[in-house]
């Protein structure tokens, strides 16, 4: 499993000022419940409800627009957005970064993948306000000089794409992998891609591109046979 939208402990960069000041956030509270089954049982239903109510009360935003500030591709952005706006909507519709794609809008396909710090996340399933203070990289941020990254170049050379709609998500996911693990095995590449779908069926070439970008030896096996090469009775 990868890239569950709340898959890691929120890092310092993702914690909003209010979250930092109140000590317990709703998410942290829920997370605590999830990981400590015995203590949850011991707390009793009443205490759970009370704790939730308290955590919720401290974290009410909206329904009107609220200010959000984060960094995207190195630039600081301050937005006024409804709290229910997803990070993907904020990036695509408010900032105009249309590289990340909306294809399922519910954390199933990975076309919306962006980096939060070095972590790949599903931008469709994270609220923009949860990215308060975060450093976000979209596909547009990978090659700002105009020079393709080694991975992007490998995608082009190995044809790791067809319609290209899943491509920004695939590239971001593999960028995160290669930063963490510059020389992955094929199994590790596949594992990293487990949360990304491609309907055109480019997966074999996407895996090949990732391995190529990591410096692994080429495995292309395309063969064109000329009619006279297989003269058969």
């Amino acid at each position: 499993m990868k890239k569950l939208f709340f898959r890691d402990t929120p890092s310092a960069t993702t914690a909003s000022p209010s979250e930092a000041s109140v000590g317990v956030s709703r998410r942290a509270f829920l997370k605590g419940l999830g990981t400590t089954a015995i203590s949850t049982a011991a707390m009793g239903a009443g205490n759970v409800a009370k704790g939730l109510a308290q955590a919720n009360a401290e974290r009410v935003h909206g329904p009107g627009a609220v200010p959000v500030t984060f960094k995207v591709n190195g630039e600081s952005r301050s937005l006024q957005i409804e709290p229910r706006t997803t990070l993907l909507e904020a990036l695509r519709l408010q900032i105009g970064l249309t590289g990340p794609k909306e294809a399922c809008d519910r954390a199933a396909c990975g076309a919306c993948t962006v980096l939060l710090g070095d972590r790949p996340v599903y931008a469709c399933s994270m609220l923009a306000i949860e990215a308060q203070g975060a450093e976000i990289t979209t596909i547009e941020g990978l090659s700002r000089s105009g020079e393709l990254t080694r991975l992007q170049k490998a995608f082009v050379d190995k044809d790791g794409l067809q319609c290209g709609f899943c491509t920004p998500g695939m590239v971001m996911t593999l960028t995160a992998l290669l930063r963490k693990n510059p020389h992955p095995t094929e199994a590790e590449v596949r594992h990293a891609l487990a949360g990304n779908l491609c309907r055109c069926g480019s997966q074999p070439r996407i895996v090949a591109a990732a391995l190529d970008a990591s410096g692994a030896p080429a495995t292309a096996k395309l063969k064109i046979l000329h009619a006279h090469d297989h003269a058969l009775a």
Binding site: E82, R84, T85, R92, L93, G96, L97, T98, G99, P100, K101, E102, A103, C104, D105, R106, A108, C109, A111, T138, I139, E140, L142, L148, Q152, F155, V156, D157, D159, L161, Q162, C163, G164, F165, T167, P168, V171, R190, L193, A194, N196, L197, C198, R199, C200, G201, S202, Q203, P204, R205, V207, K221, L222, K223, I224, L225, H226, A227, H230, L232
Partner: protein, 724 residues
């Protein structure tokens, strides 16, 4: 064929020209287009599987904050026939405003009885999907030869059931459009595989003359047959934009994508097949039915998405009796889907052929070599069998030892491909650069790159000198990208343009040959006004009739029922290969889509509520990266055949080869796709049949009796070129 023998680009591996745009996020898809002042549109859909809609009240929605337009799909009373049918549409300044206003639409509806699965719908007392028509519509029938006598004289006869599910297209980019009006002129950015087709349909349905409609599709996030027309969403988007006096973007959600934009019809096939002692087919009999959705239709000719399919597919026994029916249910309508009818036909016929081979004690490759009428495919079987080590791997069905059984299977395919009709234009500049213009579109198959490769080859210049403009009705016309016709339609037109360019440059400068090393100098004579030259598709450069065969090796865990693919080998005839790299990508894609059809994908309808249960990607399972085995591709480059087209033939035999491999592994035929673990375990007798989701052999006798008794018209031969 006049294609050059020694080539620099043609047939070589050329990275796609729009690759850099696609890997940097620069490529703009319909869903990325945002004209100034754009509103967001959405469709209000039926929550009833069947209902009479008395009235639709939009008053409250219209005055909700941010809402600029609200329209009904139809005026007056009307009937909705499936969960997800269109009722109204609204547009507003933000997605959130639209979501809020949706809740304010009031509908007065009278729910009607409904039926959502084929086996219920075919019963005489089932609720009628269309009131004045039986659910089982008029079928089609054909008889050739003396079938009964031929069966009686056969050395071996098998009978079996082979059923396939409703499959969804699910392109990554959902269906949708952005429409902007300027006075009475309209520009539509459409996610479509046919810009001129969408132009014609929008013109007709909105009452605007064709010269006032422009359709643009710069990049397209997949289609697979489901994006030929504007769809209800395109017409509603244009109407909303007109009503609001502002551009509107209306992209469907993934949820809507599951309900309302097409699918591949299901099939229930009862096949009887006979052969003589040598394995030569003698007689074939088929009764079949399936559902194309809320409107029954049996033909699949021309990719209409009807429930019919070619039978007995690529084989030609002398005596055949075919009767096909089509059943309406309260569900979304089918449409063309990558090789309409053919994967369905292949699963039945190739399955029956393997079962017959087993009965005769014959090798599946041998029975195909004996019966396949195509010389190309027979060569492909021989070549593929050798590369696959078929002789080393094949065992008699069910004889693989141990709890994890290994099995192999194979199947063949034919597809018409070919194509014509494209016009194209080249603008040659004095600095030697070239702009090629052609109103085709790129489904993801690499058509831009095809244009560039052919032009660079024919002009003898670096491909970097050539830019390519496609996807716009202001460009010279080309056909829809369907039927695997684009490359075969576009390449000859580019070839023709380039010949004309060379002739014009010769006239202009008197050069003996302006191509190659003389190019730059020849172009210098052009001056300030560029040279514009046209050309069109012509005979003799492309052809139809693609042939391919595939081999599959699987392992089936008889304890868990899990099917794991080990290897798929493809041998595909491509005629003249234009770009081996994108050609291979298409074949990978066809195979992977076939894997989904074989093992995972299926629309699931709830008979109690009439609702589709899996209109998403969590529960409608697409093949993921771990589900894809080693896919080995052998392309047969046959330049003497000209350009053909490969997008559809490569997906046809995958599912049938896998199903045959599974039957070979476990020694039992599972009658219905997808081959999920529950069905495998049930087929092995490891699950109680009743009360489980598994239906290894549903009792279809009543349904087939209905099909046999239904009226029928003469069988329509499909245009799929089954005997290429």
């Amino acid at each position: 064929m006049p294609w050059p023998k020694e080539t620099r680009y043609l047939g070589k591996a050329t990275p796609r020209v729009d690759g850099p745009a696609k890997v940097t996020g620069r490529a703009k898809y319909t869903s990325d287009v945002s004209p100034a002042g754009m509103l967001y549109g959405a469709i209000f859909r039926s929550k009833w599987p069947a209902a009479r809609i008395r009235s639709v009240n939009l008053d409250q929605a219209k005055t909700a904050p941010g809402i600029k337009a609200a329209i009904r799909v139809r005026e007056g009373e009307f009937t909705v026939r499936y969960y997800g049918d269109e009722i109204a549409a609204i547009a507003g300044t933000s997605r959130q405003a639209v979501i809020d206003a949706m809740a304010l639409i009031k509908v007065d509806a009278e729910p009607l009885p409904f039926v959502v699965n084929e086996l219920d719908a075919i019963k005489p007392d089932a609720p009628r999907v269309v009131p004045d028509q039986p659910n089982l519509g008029e079928g089609q029938a054909r008889t050739t030869g003396d079938v009964d006598a031929a069966f009686a004289n056969s050395a071996a006869v098998i009978e079996g059931q082979y059923c396939t599910q409703v499959e969804m297209h699910h392109p990554m980019e959902t269906h949708g459009h952005v429409v902007r009006w300027e006075g009475d002129e309209m520009t539509a950015w459409s996610s479509t595989q046919a810009v001129f087709g969408v132009r014609g349909a929008l013109s007709e349905q909105l009452g605007v003359s064709q010269n006032k409609v422009r359709v643009i599709c710069d990049h397209l996030g997949g289609a697979f047959g489901s994006k030929f027309g504007p769809g209800a969403e395109g017409v509603l988007c244009a109407r909303l934009a007109r009503e609001a006096g502002a551009p509107v973007r209306l992209m469907l959600t993934r949820f809507e994508e599951g309900l309302a934009v097409g699918n591949r019809p299901s099939s229930y096939q009862k096949i009887k097949l006979g052969a003589d002692a040598e394995g030569k087919l003698t007689a074939f009999q088929l009764e079949s039915f399936g559902t194309p959705g809320h409107t029954s239709g049996v033909t699949s000719a021309g990719g209409s998405g009807g429930a019919g399919f070619p039978a007995p597919y690529i084989y030609q026994p002398a005596a055949t009796r075919v009767k096909q029916g089509s059943v309406a249910v309260n569900a979304g309508q089918s449409c063309a889907f990558r090789a309409p009818g053919h994967p369905t036909a292949s699963v039945g016929m190739e399955g029956a052929l393997d079962d017959l081979a087993a009965k005769l004690g014959m090798d599946p490759v041998a029975i195909r070599l004996k019966n396949d009428p195509s010389e190309i495919r027979r060569r492909e079987y021989e070549l593929g069998a050798e590369k696959f080590d078929w002789k080393g791997k094949f065992r008699k069905p069910g004889t693989s030892p141990g709890p994890v059984k290994i099995g192999v299977g194979c199947a063949g395919a034919a597809w018409m491909s070919g194509g014509k009709g494209t016009q194209a234009e080249a603008q040659i500049n004095a600095d030697g650069t070239v702009e090629m213009r052609v109103g085709t579109q790129d489904l993801g198959t690499g058509s831009r790159t095809v244009v560039q490769v052919v032009a660079a080859e024919m002009l003898g210049i670096e491909r970097e000198l050539i830019t390519v403009r496609i996807g716009d009705t202001r460009l010279p016309p080309s056909g829809a990208s369907g039927g695997s016709t684009t490359t075969a339609s576009v390449s000859p037109a580019i070839f023709d343009v380039c010949e004309n360019v060379v002739a014009e440059l010769k006239k202009l400068g008197g050069a003996e040959d302006p191509r190659g090393t003389n190019w730059k100098e020849a172009c210098r004579k052009i001056g300030t006004a560029p040279l514009v030259v046209r050309g069109q598709w012509r005979e003799g450069l492309s052809t139809g009739g693609a042939c391919g065969v595939q081999f599959a090796e699987v392992e089936v865990d008889t304890d868990t029922g899990f099917v794991k693919l080990r290897k798929i080998l493809v041998v595909q005839d491509c005629g003249t290969v234009v770009n081996s790299l994108t050609c291979e990508s298409q074949i990978n894609g066809g195979v992977i889509m076939g894997i989904g059809y074989a093992l995972y994908e299926q629309r699931v309808m709830d008979p109690r509520t009439g609702v589709m249960l899996n209109p998403n990607w969590e529960t409608y399972k697409l093949p993921g990266v771990f589900d894809i085995p080693d896919i080995q591709i052998l392309l047969l480059n046959m330049p003497e055949r000209g350009v053909i087209g490969v997008g559809e033939p490569c997906t046809i035999p995958t599912a049938s080869a896998i199903a045959n491999a599974v039957a070979n592994a476990i020694g039992v035929r599972i009658s219905n796709l997808p081959l999920t673990p529950d069905k495998v375990l049930a087929a092995l007798g490891k699950l109680p049949v009743k009360g489980t989701a598994a239906m290894p052999q549903p009792d279809l006798s009543g349904a087939f009796a209905q099909v046999a008794a239904a009226p029928a018209r003469p069988y329509v031969e499909t245009t799929g070129g089954c005997h290429a």
